[in-house]
């Protein structure tokens, strides 16, 4: 099977959407929207998909329209980036609470201010507590593959939650990369036909959705969302295994790279994980026992898989492309550190905030992190827990 193509991340995601052929796509077409929606609207215009494309006046309206369409029983998508996602926040919480399996790609870009359009995970990290499943993609291939799997994960009866597919703004979204695409029939069969159990347009079984929910049931419904998120872990793994059968590419909750015998590891999301793999190859050639852990799912957070994967290492650096302003480092650092706490085996865990606003993560930056981990392993002492990488100070 030679389906190797050269596409930008945006083209790859739009291609996946074309092959999924959703019932409804509601999107705001102007900045900070990415080309994903522009390419997809061409498919709509050319009659290559059956999708009802709803152009709306804001991202708040885009997610609202998506909530309406998904409630009605349609397989629904939207797409956005940075400030657009910020404007969508309010309605994302509603989509997840209403248990609507809306799939939406997000090209991760900085939030203003200062005004900046470049790669940064602040947009996605703002939604970690919203009840959406968050998948991250190292490159165009993974963005494409994640989109296709996201449909199955979102619509699984044990889950029924929105899925956000993240890819790095510009670095992945606008860069031409090589990937393998599946044929239309394979994607069509993989995603299957969406048969929601309950939906508003089911006139024979009328229901109401999005009701007022006071102190008598709100808490129970929130707990159910947590249960769905717990169930999502197995579903993400199962769908990943099934996807491997049709694509040859394995997917789980995390990906590990040369971690089995590693003394030191870095944990990072999206494209930076690829750069770290390159550095690991070079350092391994010099005899350093180093590896990479890349969470594919950030919500739900794969606590068990991460603590199992890291239990043999001596020192870990978590690299965050977002700030929390807690003054204790980035968002992933807190979660990874918590995941390792119960191991009680004195793994040193430090944090680096890097790449904010599109600051390039250079290979020598990653090498510097491994060298500092090496120092920590040798001395047994951690000097500074939270660090900034590639920053002028």
């Amino acid at each position: 099977m030679n389906n190797r193509v050269a596409l930008t991340g945006n083209e790859a995601v739009a291609q996946a959407m074309k092959q999924i052929n959703p019932d409804v796509v509601a999107a705001y077409p102007i900045t900070p929207q990415t080309e994903i929606v522009q390419f997809f609207s061409n498919f709509v215009n050319n009659g290559q998909v059956d999708t009802e494309f709803v152009a709306v006046e804001s991202e708040h309206s885009a997610m609202s329209a998506a909530v309406g369409a998904a409630s009605a029983g349609a397989r629904t998508m939207t797409a956005t980036s940075s400030q657009g996602l910020a404007l969508m926040f309010e309605v994302v919480y509603i989509a997840s609470a209403m248990r609507l399996p809306i799939v939406f790609p997000v090209a991760n870009r900085a939030l203003s201010g200062p005004i900046n359009i470049h790669c940064d995970h602040s947009d996605a990290m703002g939604l970690t507590n919203s009840g959406v499943i968050q998948l991250f993609s190292e490159n165009a291939q993974e963005a494409y593959d994640n989109m296709i799997q996201a449909v199955r994960i979102a619509e699984h009866p044990d889950v029924l939650l929105p899925v956000m597919v993240n890819l790095d703004g510009f670095i992945t979204s606008h860069a031409l990369d090589i990937l393998e695409v599946l044929d239309d029939e394979t994607v069509k069969n993989f995603v299957g036909i969406y048969n929601p159990e309950e939906f508003l347009l089911d006139v024979k079984n009328p229901i109401s959705m999005g009701n007022l929910d006071m102190y008598d049931f709100y808490f129970e419904h929130r707990r159910q969302q947590v249960a769905a998120m717990e169930a999502a872990k197995k579903v993400i793994e199962d769908v990943g295994k099934e996807f491997e059968k049709v694509s040859g590419r394995p997917y789980g909750l995390i990906e590990t790279y040369k971690l089995d015998d590693a003394d030191m590891a870095v944990v990072l999301l999206n494209s930076a994980a690829g750069s770290a793999k390159g550095v690991v190859d070079e350092l391994r050639a010099k005899g350093m026992k180093v590896g990479v852990l890349k969470p594919r799912a950030f919500r739900p957070f794969p606590f068990e898989e991460i603590s199992t994967a890291l239990k043999g290492v001596k020192a870990v650096a978590v690299l965050d492309r977002a700030e929390t302003f807690s003054t204790l480092g980035g968002p992933m650092f807190a979660d990874v550190r918590a995941a390792l706490y119960d191991l009680k085996n004195d793994i040193k865990v430090i944090n680096y905030v890097y790449g904010l606003g599109g600051r390039d993560l250079r290979l020598e930056d990653v090498e510097q992190v491994f060298n500092e981990l090496d120092e920590i392993v040798k001395s047994g002492k951690t000097d500074k827990v939270v660090n900034y990488l590639g920053l002028r100070e």
Binding site: R4, V5, A6, T8, I117, H118, N139, D168, F170, I171, T172, H174, A175, L176, D177, I178, S271, A272, G274, S275, K277, G278, D281, E282, D360, L361, R362, L363
Partner: protein, 192 residues
């Protein structure tokens, strides 16, 4: 890690540096190699200096950082010589391909270069004569093939024809003009 060839394009907004980097990547991808093509997005305006990058490898490319130590530098606009950081990060075996009416030795002096290999081609004039307006990006791909000697020209030429035919279905005259430009630049590029 497999050897990755890195290219940096210097141009001005509107000259097609990004398009050239993406098109080169598409063509090289069709020749069976792994590639990346990406621009550096700054404040986008016509005439502002911009950069675009390629990585080419026989194996899958993991890294996603900017290109800082390119083996090949391609300059689309001669007015950037002496202004943009053309030689920054380039090793002593670096290959420079410059769109200019000047000779390689004149450019060498202008850049203050002691090493590297210099190639020049008047891509403006070539594109004017073949395409009908000044778009130096496609002819520079022809100069690239000659200067680097990495890819067989005939195969490259065929794949470019395929790419252009896809992009300009309704404007066949554009296709022939661009192909002619690439061929001429391939023939006319000057070395020292």
């Amino acid at each position: 890690m497999a050897k990755v060839l890195e290219i940096r394009w210097h141009g001005r907004g509107g000259q097609g540096a990004k398009t050239a980097a993406l098109m080169l990547a598409e063509v090289v991808a069709e020749m069976g190699k792994y590639v990346q093509g990406f621009p550096e997005y700054g404040p986008e305006r016509m005439g502002a200096p911009i950069l675009a990058f390629n990585r080419i490898s026989d194996e899958k490319i993991h890294i996603h950082s900017n290109v800082v130590n390119p083996e090949i530098v391609i300059v689309l606009d001669a007015t950037l010589l002496g202004k943009a950081k053309i030689t920054q990060g380039v090793g002593e075996d670096g290959i420079y391909i410059i769109n200019t009416t000047k000779t390689p030795s004149e450019v060498r002096e202008l850049l203050g270069l002691d090493d590297g290999k210099l190639f020049t081609v008047d891509a403006n004039q070539i594109s004017l004569e073949t395409i009908g307006r000044v778009i130096p990006n496609t002819p520079l791909m022809g100069a690239f093939v000659k200067a680097t000697n990495l890819l067989p020209f005939d195969e490259f030429f065929d794949k470019v024809r395929g790419q252009l035919s896809k992009k300009f279905k309704s404007k066949p005259e554009v296709i022939e003009g661009n192909l002619e430009a690439i061929k001429r630049a391939y023939q006319e590029v000057k070395s020292e």
